[in-house]
């Protein structure tokens, strides 16, 4: 399986899209995680949120729901919605690879979020396609002798991580 690599340019494009989505959907927080539980980008008031845990639990949630879907003969459930007393979570899958999460309260509505997410989803799908292409061409460059920054990692580098 190939690694997931995020470059500056696409990172900013992703932040633009989710920043706009946050404003248009009047959401509190919008973030993107990959299906393995790694957070890719986030916008909104994150101070009160443990985003690392949110990312991992979101991915676990989507993975479990995907498993359920397959058991009943569906490919996936592309949208999940959790309704709380104050806050709600709207989760949707982008291009079968990453997960878009919108947290919103009574200042917004499910209908508005759904509408805005659909538009953002299409834009994000394009960005992630570009990333995929870049990763592929990067691989070719490496085969042609381009060195990744990790090509030179030494035992010493790694040992230093574990020094008290």
């Amino acid at each position: 399986m190939s690694d997931f690599v995020l470059f500056d340019e696409e990172f900013h494009q992703i932040k633009d899209v989710i920043g706009r989505l946050k404003a248009d959907a009047q959401a509190k927080v919008v973030f993107i995680v990959d299906k393995n539980g790694q957070q890719i980008a986030a916008m909104g008031d994150m101070d009160s949120l443990d985003t690392t845990s949110l990312a991992s639990l979101t991915a676990g949630n989507v993975a479990a729901t995907d498993g359920l879907a397959r058991l009943i003969g569906e490919k996936e459930f592309p949208v999940l919605f959790h309704e709380g007393e104050r806050d709600n979570v709207y989760i949707s899958i982008v291009g079968q690879r990453v997960i878009l999460v919108v947290i919103f309260d009574e200042r917004s509505s499910l209908g508005l979020v759904r509408l805005r997410v659909r538009k953002a989803n299409a834009e994000l799908e394009r960005v992630f396609e570009t990333i995929q292409k870049k990763v592929e061409s990067e691989k070719v460059r490496r085969q042609e002798g381009f060195d990744s920054p990790f090509a030179e990692i030494t035992d010493e580098d790694i040992d230093s991580l574990f020094r008290e």
Partner: protein
């Protein structure tokens, strides 16, 4: 699948602790959590039953420091060990970068160890991974129990590719960080090849 974020200059890797029920996977994570500097760790999340058996997974994010200007973050997961949670175990292996197999040293658990190891191989294969090629460490846990088998006997039965093997007593921490370090090292060495 390592996630390399050039924008944030971060490498994120996923390590999964695998093994039969009650072998001490969660205890490994608990010990790491207890002994890690608060600035370097996130919350330890346990999705467990009321009787503290792992239901879906435990999760612990760790920042190990910087390598070549990139912050290295390791996400440690455990799987539920009980046989009937196989569907959940499979999900957690998605995108794994390295595996720790925690074996229970007691003779009575030998069959469970072997069954779990075979299950690991099968579930990895379903994600397109070949166990012999995945960064992998064997931990022989529960060395303090009087019922523990000799370590060389366990090694003979469970070590299959000369992988680094550590004797451990997870509640007291013996072998816990050695195991983590060995698997992290293999994962980072993999990056060098890519």
């Amino acid at each position: 699948m390592t996630f390399i974020n050039y924008a944030a200059r971060e490498i994120n890797c996923k390590i999964v602790y695998y093994g039969p029920g009650l072998c001490g996977k969660t205890t490994n994570l608990q010990y790491i959590y207890d002994r890690t500097n608060p600035a370097a760790k996130g919350k330890l999340i346990s999705l467990a039953t009321e009787t503290d058996r792992t239901l879906f997974f435990d999760f612990l994010p760790l920042d190990l420091g910087t390598v070549r200007g990139f912050k290295t973050r390791f996400h440690l997961y455990t799987v539920p060990g009980q046989v009937f949670y196989d569907a959940s175990r499979k999900l957690i292996l998605k995108g794994v970068d390295g595996v720790v197999f925690v074996a229970d040293s007691q003779e009575a658990r030998m069959d469970a160890n072997i069954e779990s190891l075979q299950n690991l191989e099968k579930n990895l294969a379903e994600h397109g991974f070949d166990l012999p090629n995945v960064p992998y460490v064997l931990q022989l846990n529960k060395r303090d129990l009087p019922t523990a088998m000799p370590a060389d006997e366990l090694y003979r039965q469970l070590n299959f590719k000369g992988e680094p093997t550590f004797e451990a007593t997870a509640p007291s921490g013996q072998g816990v960080f050695d195991t983590l370090k060995a698997v992290a090292k293999q994962v980072l060495m993999e990056l060098r090849k890519k």
